[in-house]
Amino acid sequence: MSKVYNLMFAGVGGQGSLLIAELTSIAAAHAGYDVKQTEVHGVSQRGGSVETHVRFGDKVYSPIVTPGEADAVIALEKLEALRFAHYLNPTAGVILVNTYEIVPGSVVNADKMYPYETIEYLRGKGLHVLTLPASQIARDLGDGRMANVVMIGALSTRIPIPDSSWQKALHLRLPARYLEGNLKAFAAGKQAVEAEIVSN
């Protein structure tokens, strides 16, 4: 059976992890793959953690990614990277982390307990961690909310979906007034990872 790619998107409600999962699914479909995506709705507007699974390949059955099997985990926030890191295939996968911290507002004294050391910790576990300051990159481009699209720019360097399909997905899914900025964000994410790989 040919390979099915397993992706896990993690973030905090409001960060747009669902949107980039969908952009990835659309891009994969456009590239000719079968694709399935699963998301748990409900708490996304209320600042809870949000996980979305995307699987694509010749033929996809389950929409669910099994822990230990993700080719990539795309985390829009550090604590969420930690929460979903066990989904990663520990030998072949890569976890892409936006080095951005959102301290849970609903937990008393959360700022004192936040796992700031997540990146070093995950590296210590032998995982392949790529970090990038996606929120900063997006802010420099004029809108911090585009951090999510920076992240899929980064992801695009790791999975076999051609650029033309990503472009198509962005065109199909985003309102025209946001398109130009997001195309730049996508390109910036791509460049950031390429630079980071060199420095690794």
Partner: protein, 596 residues
């Protein structure tokens, strides 16, 4: 990892990537539905929403509650239309009275209703398996396994409904309803309205229903025969010693975990086909029954005397299934990794009230009052969690009022019931009538945020808009409460924290039933997001670091390294509550701070 695998060519036509709920809506539209009704509830909500957005010719509506939706649907179907009714699993409890009697008369136009179950309780108060309802009501149950089948089965369900003149249940689960997949779609079929023949013996007079009782059994037997050959059930034989009987989304997990096993995929899980089950099990040494939820298929098979099966003892009845869970149960491969928690703090991130949510002030005040609070179902259920912890019971929609009345009888001298506007309209009016009628002195708080917030902001009767966004009569909540006999009714702006606290204090003291309506639209409503929002900011020179603003528990208020509050300008909704609590007026509109 592999990065140089070749992408596919781009020449194939792109099918639509649809959420399974969108695929259901699409199927209903293609099947020629001309009436659709539902009440919001995860994971069913997107069906009516999609119909409203893309297929208004299906005449979709949000009804007051699931029972009303079901009854409107019955009427429309008897009147000859093709009808779709949608609800989450617990919605069928509300609609059960209508549901249980409809099969006696049977339907005229096709009648299909969606029961969206929630194994794992992602957003529900229980995990009930509604296949038992299908069996109790003696109606066929269809269970698709992916988004494509959601569309296909809905279309076929209408033909089935009309062929047997029976309501048909299409059961989904959260994982199915909320997954996206590629779907081939087709055009709409225009179905002409069937003639309605008034027939008191069929449609009314309970005494005649006795005559129809045997017909229900005859229909069931006919359906059982149909199940043996229908295309919903599919056999994929193999020469493996292991066979699997499965249904719904679990089919996909089985294909991942046991790719070489023989499979009987039951797309129709009631009535079940006895011969097909016997035949299938006769060909394999061991047969696993993989069904999420209760032991529904397995129990039936045991009743047939089939005993080379293994099901619930291996896979369990609680929660969702997944490929990992099946693999673990079957001892295949390595253990599924667990989250990293060793030597690190994996902080939870529970959901909370949104920035600017008007519910916050009410729970702060209730916490101060130290009263017993019977809660209800909605975003405000979060008032039970830290830091507020000011809600002591939550059961089901509308239960706050009845529970409060009961607690009062049990000796809690001052009880407060708290309920959202949508929930009040759904199931809160009869218990309020009862409270007054039976002499309760409860205080009812209605959180009037002009929407059904929990399920993603759908309109309801007190918003003045219908599912299609058209203006309609706006139910007057004050007049409604007055009509029940409550005389002490106060309406407050929910963002005026002192007013809210005062109103609650007075209402609780009042010697008789009282109502406080806390008004303020949900911040997620498009009109609230669209309004100009001047953010607030902190003037550090005036701040004494007393932390009062942090006790508002607004997620937009962060802490700086120097221990000052910092209001995230792009998150602030200008609700003003933090500025109201600041004793030194250090929190001001950002634009005025610049001038100062």
């Amino acid at each position: 990892m592999e990065t140089n695998a070749k992408p596919k060519t781009e020449t194939q036509p792109v099918r639509e990537l649809l959420l399974a709920n969108q695929a259901i809506a699409r199927g209903a539209w293609e099947a020629g539905v001309t009436f659709a009704a539902g009440y919001p509830g995860t994971p069913s909500t997107e069906i009516i929403e999609t119909l409203a957005k893309r297929y208004p010719e299906t005449n979709p509506r949000w009804s007051t509650n699931e029972k009303v939706a079901f009854e409107e649907g019955m009427g429309a179907a008897i009147g000859g239309l093709r009808v779709l009714v949608t609800m989450k699993h617990v919605g069928l409890n509300v609609a059960a009275d209508a549901f249980m009697v409809f099969p006696y008369s049977g339907t005229n136009g096709g009648f299909v209703f969606i029961s969206a179950d929630d194994p794992g309780m992602h957003s529900s108060q229980n995990e009930q398996d509604n296949r038992y309802y299908g069996r109790m009501g003696k109606v066929p149950i269809l269970e698709p396994s992916d988004a494509q089948e959601c569309r296909d089965f809905v279309i076929a369900a209408f033909d089935l409904s009309e062929q047997f003149s029976t309501p048909v249940m299409l059961r989904t689960t959260t994982r199915l309803a909320h997954h996206k997949g590629l779907v081939d779609v087709g055009p709409r079929r225009e179905v002409s309205q069937r003639e309605f023949v008034a027939d008191a013996k069929r449609f009314s007079v309970p005494i005649y229903r006795k005559l129809h009782r045997p017909k229900v059994e005859e229909r069931l037997e006919a359906l059982r025969a149909y199940a043996e050959t229908c295309s919903f059930n599919r056999v994929e034989h193999s020469d493996n010693a292991v066979g699997v009987i499965t249904s719904g989304i679990s089919y996909q997990y089985v294909k991942e975990v046991l790719p070489d096993a023989g499979v009987l995929r039951l797309g129709m899980t009631y009535p079940l086909p006895p011969e097909m089950l016997r035949d299938f099990c006769g060909r394999y040494q061991t047969v696993y029954v993989v069904e999420e939820g209760e032991s529904f298929i397995e129990e039936y098979m045991l009743s047939l005397g089939i005993n080379n099966i293994q099901g619930k003892a291996l896979f369990g009845v609680i929660g969702e299934y997944s490929p990992g869970r099946l693999r673990q149960a079957l001892n295949l491969g390595a253990a599924v990794p667990q989250p990293f928690t060793e030597d690190i703090m994996l902080l939870p991130r529970p959901p909370m009230f949104c920035v600017g949510c008007g519910h916050r002030t009410v729970f702060s005040a209730l916490r101060q009052l130290k009263v017993t609070v019977a809660g209800d179902i909605g975003c405000y259920t979060m008032g039970a969690l830290p830091p507020f912890e000011a809600e002591h019971t939550t059961f089901c929609m509308g239960a706050s009022i009845g529970t409060a009345v009961g607690l009062e009888r049990a000796g809690h001298d001052k009880v407060v019931a708290i309920i959202g506007d949508s929930t009040f309209i759904h199931a809160g009016i009869p218990p309020l009538i009862d409270a007054v009628y039976n002499g309760s002195k409860l205080t009812l708080v209605i959180l009037d945020n002009s929407t059904t917030g929990m399920t993603g902001d759908q309109p309801h009767a007190a918003t003045g808009y219908n599912a299609l966004g058209q203006e309609t009569h706006k139910l007057n909540l004050v007049a409604m409460c007055k009509a029940t006999g409550v005389e002490n009714i106060t309406v407050v702006d929910t963002w005026q924290r002192k007013e809210v606290a005062r109103a609650l204090r007075k209402a609780v003291k009042y010697n008789g039933p009282s109502v406080v309506i806390a008004q303020g639209p949900c911040m997620q409503l498009p009109e609230m997001k669209r309004r100009g929002i001047p953010p607030y900011t902190v003037i550090e020179e005036l701040c004494t670091q007393c932390d009062a603003c942090f006790k508002v528990w607004c997620p937009a208020i962060k802490r700086t390294a120097a221990n000052f509050p910092l209001i995230a300008g792009d998150e602030c909704t200008s609700c003003t509550v933090c500025a109201q609590v600041c004793p030194t007026e250090a929190i001001v509109l950002a634009e005025t701070a610049v001038v100062a």
